[in-house]
């Protein structure tokens, strides 16, 4: 088991190194850079010599491999460099923007899981009849709602029309209600789809009929036998959905004007702020890799059969 974990951690590190390098190469390959965008834009009215001096002062005139080594060294020592556009250290920007995004993404994920469980449970409750069909089609509806539109609609209805929450000067909890809903609803859709389909599949298996024949109640069978079997693919999807959570956060934060990694990414992409993007890519990759590692390690816990397989193959 320890060898398995070490192996997975090794893979995760390799993914990080590859991501870092790929991001560096791709960002270098883009036309223009942050220095050009900021200092060569006509508003600055600088001469070619002045721009060259600025370029040299940022070390942007060094050969690419030298810049790469420098960046690697800086990252290892925890120095993420400066945001050229915003004129502040990247560390400072991350300190401001990372916690709210983690909070938003974390709460939205919890809300999405809750919504998924409620939907799946309700659609399998006795006596739902026709409502079952309606409930099962909700995920397809949710998945086709653009985050952007949903956010604006929620703001228009709950803040501007009904005046229930303020968007501009909200309290600490008030601030999260609408953004979490905006992000959670589309994320819950694929989760619910997978979970509902799996529940249906597991319900059709012979052992369920046996359990029912033995006199177990429908809900007992659902919770004790079906849920555990159906949750595994959902867990895999949940790990992958993390990326979508970040992408959704970009849009949600822009609509609600929240500070966060989303807004930071948006601005950095617009301005080719390489140092900022590099840090965001590494942090996102780290989070992605960690979450998927945790999901992998959870498999044997949820399904003991997998634990045996891991133990025998490694």
């Amino acid at each position: 088991m320890i060898r398995y974990i070490l192996g997975r951690v090794g893979q995760a590190l390799a993914v990080l190194v590859v991501t870092f390098t790929a991001a560096f190469v791709l960002l270098q390959a883009l036309p223009g850079d942050a220095i050009m965008i900021k200092f060569m834009s006509p508003e600055m009215g600088l001469s070619a010599e002045q721009v060259a001096e600025i370029r040299a002062s940022y070390g942007a005139d060094l050969p690419i491999w030298e810049q790469y080594l420098k960046t690697v060294g800086n990252f290892l020592s925890g120095n993420f460099g400066y945001s050229i556009q915003a004129g502040v250290p990247v560390r400072h920007q991350l300190a401001v923007n990372l916690p709210p995004t983690l909070q938003l993404a974390g709460l939205a994920f919890l809300a999405a899981v809750l919504l998924t469980v409620v939907l799946a449970a309700m659609s399998n409750m006795v006596g739902m009849g026709r409502l079952r069909g309606a409930l099962q089609s909700l995920p397809s509806l949710f998945i086709s709602i653009p985050v952007f539109w949903l956010g604006i609609m929620l703001i228009q209805i709950f803040s501007f029309q009904l005046g229930l929450v303020s968007v501009i000067s909200p309290g600490p909890v008030e601030k999260l209600v609408l953004p979490v809903a905006t992000l959670a609803i589309p994320i819950s859709a694929p989760l619910a789809q997978v979970l509902m389909r799996n529940i249906d599949e597991v319900l059709a298996q012979p052992f369920v009929a046996v359990a029912r024949a033995k006199g177990a109640s429908r809900s007992w069978v659902l919770w004790r036998h079906v849920a555990r079997n159906a949750v595994l693919p959902t867990l895999t999807i949940a790990g992958i959905l993390f990326g979508e959570l970040l992408a959704g956060a970009v849009v949600t934060e822009a609509v609600f004007g929240l500070s966060g990694l989303g807004g930071l990414t948006y601005q950095a992409v617009n301005n080719h702020d390489t140092a900022v993007l590099q840090a965001i890519v590494v942090i996102s990759a780290f989070a992605f890799v960690t979450i998927n590692l945790v999901v992998d390690l959870l498999y044997p816990v949820v399904d003991p059969r997998l634990g045996h397989r891991v133990a025998t193959t490694t």
Partner: protein, 542 residues
């Protein structure tokens, strides 16, 4: 025993007195209150010369004072931090007398030494700290502190625009502590120490900025009606990128002022009793410019043909409102030295077609003009900060298509946009505008060493092969150096005519800055180029 009726009528009288007192007060400025101001974009680096970017200017204008004050109505330069000044005959020496008793919010004095250090930095830049040179200061040589309240500036060549240059947001005065910080640190608003009526209290980077009134502020521009501290207690800037959220929040009472209201939203805002403010930017009009280094537009007849193929009136009536006046020259009609050239800017597709025919561009099979096997396909990038620029360019493209010229409008990312905009082959056409209330703005816009919108040789654009217009540059240099007001205005007129005769640019409209405000918000003022000033503003009670 007092009857219920007595109590009720007493209450009614009290309410009536209260109401009439409130009514009487509503025309008198009220002290206190918090203004919530919604910005579309976050501010970037707040080094004052970077104040041309509107979100930066909107902040800097409240927290810094300027040496002089440009009256937005008369455009005259009036005293502010400088009580008086003298300029020598050829505008190479300026001496300013500083108002005594002014302090920065960190307690240090705003004296001759501080002013000297500010302009040394803005005029010469600072390599070590990466501070660039200010666009509005030309030919700067050195400063000299004559006594604690007198400072002299010298210039290597005449610098007529300098006096007006001391009044702009880009010349906001900051404390020596701020100037000692590297450019990398100036994105943090709390580091910007000015002497203005408001002080930065807190900031959530990229999201929120809180300014508080400085209680001991007593040095506003001498000729302003409002004196002493600002009326408002607090200004809260909230970055709200989404247009519909800004407008919704204003109408729902969650904010009192918003910046950037598109023309198509004006009616909705006004119909609810809110006010649209559209102060002019008074500079070079919103235009489409040519890069004659590109062979496709090197021929004067082609440029003239496209000028006459453009129906600016249709653009203004289709996309904009009365707040966007039709351009009648390369500069705004509210700018100094403006000359009405509308007779030369006619929409005339027949003349346009003739000019293209004369230039050898015959209509091809696809309805596209061609010459020597080359098709007339031009490219331009949209400029996101300009109002509805994409729609404007697309409408221009439709108009040009009618005479057989194709204009491709690209969005592109910022990197490609800046890189390609410096290459005349890739962008023979570009949108352009700039605001500043001094004729020097024309030089800024066209001169090769500054904004260089025509992409002449000698600027940042290294891909330019040969295009230089010595006559134009001579006129621009003369505007920067001419000390006689009447002669300077004559040159400003001459350059407008020359640029239009050469069809270097197609002016479209005079660009305003559009704000919307709650009816409770009073005495909302703007500096000469349309950035908000909240010094005298106040909020009437609900």
């Amino acid at each position: 025993m007092v009857s219920m009726r007595t109590i009720l009528s007493a209450a009614a009288i009290a309410a009536a007195i209260g109401a009439s007192a409130a009514l009487a007060q509503s025309s008198q400025p009220v002290k206190g209150g918090t203004l919530v101001y919604l910005e579309q974009q976050a501010h970037t680096n707040l080094y004052p010369p970077a104040g041309g970017f509107y979100p930066n200017g909107g902040v800097l204008n409240q927290i810094t004072d300027k040496l002089t004050y440009q009256n937005p109505k008369t455009l005259e330069i009036e005293p502010w931090i400088a009580e008086s000044w003298t300029v020598n005959g050829d505008a190479t020496e300026y001496v300013f007398k500083i108002r005594p008793g002014v302090t920065f919010s960190d307690g240090t004095p705003l004296d001759a030494a501080a002013v000297a250090k500010n302009f040394d930095t803005y005029g010469l830049g600072n390599k070590e700290l990466k501070h660039p040179v200010s666009e509005v200061i030309t030919n700067y040589k050195a400063s000299e502190v004559i006594d604690s309240l007198t400072v002299k500036f010298t210039f290597s060549k005449p610098s007529v625009g300098f006096l007006q240059g001391t009044s702009v947001i880009g010349s906001g005065l900051v404390s020596l502590k701020t100037l000692a910080l590297p450019d990398d640190a100036l994105g943090d608003a709390t580091k910007i120490i000015g002497s203005g009526p408001f002080v930065v209290q807190s900031e959530v980077l990229g999201r929120e900025l809180v300014l508080a009134a400085r209680k001991d502020y007593a040095w506003g521009p001498a000729r302003l009606a409002h004196q002493g501290r600002a009326n408002l207690d607090v200004i809260k800037y909230v970055v709200t990128p989404e247009d519909s959220v800004r407008i919704g929040a204003l109408l729902a009472g969650q904010a009192q002022v918003i910046r950037q209201v598109q023309a198509y939203d004006e009616k909705q805002v006004q119909s609810k009793g809110f006010t649209i403010y559209a102060p002019p930017t008074r500079g070079v009009n919103n235009s489409v410019v040519f890069r004659p280094d590109n062979p496709l537009v090197a021929d004067l007849r082609v440029r003239q043909a496209l000028l006459h193929a453009t129906n600016a009136k249709e653009i203004v009536t289709t996309l904009f409102s009365a707040n966007y006046p039709l351009a009648k020259s390369i500069i705004a009609s509210t700018a100094q030295g403006y000359v009405d050239l509308s007779a030369k800017l006619t929409y005339d597709p027949a003349l346009s077609a003739k000019l293209l025919d004369d230039g050898g561009w015959a209509l091809g099979p696809k309805g596209l003009r061609q010459k020597d096997g080359k098709e007339m396909i031009l490219t331009a990038y949209e400029s996101p900060p300009q109002p509805q620029n994409k729609e404007t360019l697309q409408l221009v493209a439709q108009q040009w298509a009618k005479v057989g010229v194709k204009l491709v409008v690209l969005a592109g990312d910022a990197g490609s946009r800046v890189a390609d905009s410096l290459d005349p082959i890739k962008t023979p056409v570009a949108p352009a505008m700039v605001g500043r209330a001094d004729p020097d703005v024309i030089r800024s816009q066209y001169y090769p060493a500054t904004r260089n919108v025509l992409l002449q040789k000698g600027g940042l654009a290294t891909r330019v092969q040969s295009f230089v217009d010595d006559k134009l540059n001579g006129l621009l240099e003369a505007i920067a150096a001419e000390t006689d007001y009447a002669k300077r205005m004559a040159l400003v007129g001459e350059v407008q005519t020359y640029v239009i005769d050469q069809a270097y640019t197609i002016p479209i409209f005079e660009e305003p800055q559009a704000f919307a405000a709650s009816p409770r918000f009073k005495d909302f003022a703007f500096e000469a180029v349309g950035r908000p000033s909240f010094y005298a503003a106040w909020l009437a009670p609900k």
